[in-house]
Symmetry: C2
Subunit: 212 residues, 2 copies
Amino acid sequence: MNVRDTLALELNVFAEFRPTLSEETKKSPYVFLANIDPRLQESVLEQFDDPSVVACDTMNHWIESAREPLEELLPRLDLLVMNDEEARMLSGEQNVSRAARRILDLGPRSLIVKRGEYGAILFSPESVFAVPAYPLEEVFDPTGAGDVFAGGVMGYLAATGERSEGGLRRAIVYGSVLASYVVEDFGGQRLRTLTRDDIDRRYRQFVALTEF
Amino acid sequence: MNVRDTLALELNVFAEFRPTLSEETKKSPYVFLANIDPRLQESVLEQFDDPSVVACDTMNHWIESAREPLEELLPRLDLLVMNDEEARMLSGEQNVSRAARRILDLGPRSLIVKRGEYGAILFSPESVFAVPAYPLEEVFDPTGAGDVFAGGVMGYLAATGERSEGGLRRAIVYGSVLASYVVEDFGGQRLRTLTRDDIDRRYRQFVALTEF
């Protein structure tokens, strides 16, 4: 379940989607540009007044078909989120550490490489942080795990105001916590019953999983 | 470089190898049974007086061709070391956590599952510990990485006398440190110039890589 194969992509209503943000939304300091045409991501980003954290996801389709607008977007990002296959494709490097260095040279302040059941790695110019995925005995449906991961990261940053390296590390652990829950049920169902206690308990389990 | 394909296995002199241990060797409290026919591993283990830590590696070939003697050996092990593919094969479970639970039911006190560039996981009946591999930009030759990893684990346990869960976790980090060096050069060459300072420096880098 670790690899996504894109068999077909139908943009449908997204093909002509040109969102106009409300005045309230434009004031948000936290922006996550979910995976879509990078030209659309940029037109959305343009509408924000003065965001303090801009994160962005992308996928193989845009790396292949819209590389130039994607590369124009990268220097405006605090955080680029992608999986290992996409990092290899964007950089042309097989080795993930070399791929990350190339991608950071393109401008994003930090890069998170998602590795499915193997966890995630955060690359910044001066540091690397790796966290394993939570070892689950049952993975029911990985759909949305990447988006929920990113949502957890942004949620933690927004809730705490953290911008430090340590804060970003903890945000990634919270993202991993949420992703570990969402795969337990179909689609996003598991989030409907998830409590703050569940989240905090599994965060402590991540501490126990990784401390030495 | 994460997957080993066994194209052919020629045991050669090992086919009839029946080692007789010296009196001094028999007294060793630390025994690592490197990957070979489990009947041979057992005949070596029999010769030790009273070992306090017995670890064992194995591979797909023995799981397929000598499952019964391998399963007889398992309850005598403190630590079984294998890669994720082998854990799946031995247990018949695709999911690594479920595979580990099944294998622990066969008798080893602990199980380390090696995952190449993704690191290693330690499973004990009551706890799980995951450590990422050190993110290297150049991997020259992965030959021997698994054996060096196990050597580092055993070396730490022997040098410190540690038997606690925390000690085993640190041993796995030291094993990961050594494995991260050995892949930098051909075969075991890198170990010839490795210093204690190199080892301690990379151990600290593992701390920095994983702390949050």
